[in-house]
Amino acid sequence: MDASITYDVPHLTYWDWRIAADLFFGGAGVGAFLFGVASRWWYGRTYRRLTQTAAWIAPILVLIGLGLLMTELGHPERFWRTLTTIQPSSPLWWGGVFQTLFVIGAGAYALSWRSPERHASTRRALEIAVTPIALVVGAYHGLLLALLPARPLWNTGPTVVTAILGVVLTGIAVVLLAHVARARFTGRLADTALVAEFFGGLRHVRRVLGAALLLQALTCLLWWITLRFGPAPTRNALEVANESFGPLFWFGAIGLGLIIPLGLGALAATKKTLADRAELMTVVASSALILIGGFAMRLATILAGQLS
């Protein structure tokens, strides 16, 4: 006999767009730092300017995210209590502590890039110290949600993987956009030869970006399968999420953030005759779309998960 509920109290969704924005900016900042460090480790001086750009924007982005989080807290003036309490069972405690450590470490790293020819050993030490912290913060963005059994939409393995790949994707995208903007303002995109030289230096990055996009698309598919064919609570969660936030997720996160950038990348790879400037534009457009899609993914996840 089916039950029809005739009275219950309202259940509110308390986390709004600011939590999604905190995860988005924080993730992009951490991703930017990791991308910058990885570029320097693997390609040395080839990507020095790019690493410098990444180092400068990483702590700023995380601070923007933390600022938005503060506006969402009921008592932001008490945030310090997170740092003076030891609560290892709370993902939020880990996030608070490690994001604070990251901002301090990444800030020092950014300052060390004021004069690229100096402080090389300090930079190396900071890279070694801050990279594990950045990895913890990146994982925290997924674990924060995945460790909540009360919310079936979040409580899955792919939630963590999607969050980590989102950190990588938005980190690369934001660094590429900033790098291109910096090159443009410093006159390094003034003529065709300069563009060709600039673009030639980005070929490795495009491959990494393409691989990350493919992996993210695969993980999203796995996430959908986990929910669609999981137990009743996850199936219900997916149904409700689709009903309320389906367009945001499918068109915003998947369409704009994954499918179109993948298509643009494939187009650029197959059209050998594409001019360097046009190819550069595809990188810029893809990066912008990845950022839009990355925010849409987090917003849809945060809002829909609370209904589950």
């Binding site: 005739t6 109290v9 309202p10 969704t13 308390y14 986390w15 709370s90 909540l148 919310r151 609570p233």
Partner: protein, 251 residues
């Protein structure tokens, strides 16, 4: 006069003289600790484990418990620490109405306590999960962590809030306000560690069961005559409820 009436009511609801004496001792210990300022989170040291049994075969949906709770706890308009879910079931020739009073389950493994980044939500050694408003940063993670959706963010104090079994009354040897008010005497409060207490006997004899036993939280509020499907239906939908803020349909 009023004290003896409360004590009588307490005794009837499985809150026996022995429990009362223990609670009195605990209250004295708490007061002494508070007076000396030696510990802001004192041990009750009584060995009790408070719990509740709600007999759904007796509940007739008067909502007196909800009102008593709002009054005792000064819960703001639009928010509830204890309320009654109402469900209708129909099949040809038969229509039935069910009531499920809900409140914080004071879980043995409370996810709200584990998730709190500052320790503002914590569990006393008598099992009652309480909220320290002065430590709460208002992150609402505990609200998300609760599988029973019994926590809310208070718009006035800007902290998370929930039922605390009327701990201020329990520490003085009384029962929670909802228990005292229940017209049908459907609610019984007592010590789960005492096999002779009314709650322990009801759980054993009447096969009382908690909500969502598979959630791994080990709730300490038990129901007699519960149809789990009715509760799950309530968790799936709030279509019939007028929205406040961003209320939504649940999955």
């Amino acid at each position: 006069m009023s004290e003896s009436r409360s004590n009588e009511a307490a005794t009837k609801r499985g809150f026996g003289r022995r429990s009362l004496l223990r609670s009195g001792a605990a209250a004295a210990a708490v007061s002494a600790a508070a007076a000396t300022g030696c510990d802001s989170r004192p041990s009750t040291g009584t060995g009790q484990r408070w719990g509740m049994v709600i007999d759904l075969t007796k509940c007739f949906g008067c909502h007196a418990c909800s009102i008593a709770c709002k009054s005792e706890q000064q819960v703001p308009l639009g928010f509830f620490k204890s309320w009654v879910i109402t469900a209708e079931k129909q099949r040809p020739g038969i229509a039935a109405r069910e009531f499920i009073p809900v409140l914080c389950n004071h879980c043995e493994q409370p996810p709200c306590v584990a998730g709190c980044p500052t320790g503002a939500t914590w569990q006393r050694d008598d099992g009652i999960v309480v909220q320290d408003d002065d430590s709460c940063i208002g992150c609402k993670y505990c609200v998300q962590a609760c599988p029973y959706d019994v926590k809310y963010a208070d718009p006035l104090s800007k902290t998370a809030q929930k039922c605390d079994f009327c701990v201020h009354l329990v520490d003085q040897g009384f029962v929670p306000s909802c228990v005292n008010t229940c017209n049908a005497r459907a609610r019984v409060f007592g010590d789960l560690n005492d096999p002779q207490s009314e709650v322990s006997r009801l759980i054993t004899k009447r096969r009382a069961q908690p909500l969502r036993p598979n959630a791994g939280t080990e709730p300490r509020v038990f129901y007699i005559g519960l149809d789990p499907a009715t509760y799950e239906a309530a968790r799936r939908s709030t279509d019939s409820v007028p929205s406040v803020g961003t209320a939504g349909k649940r999955g």
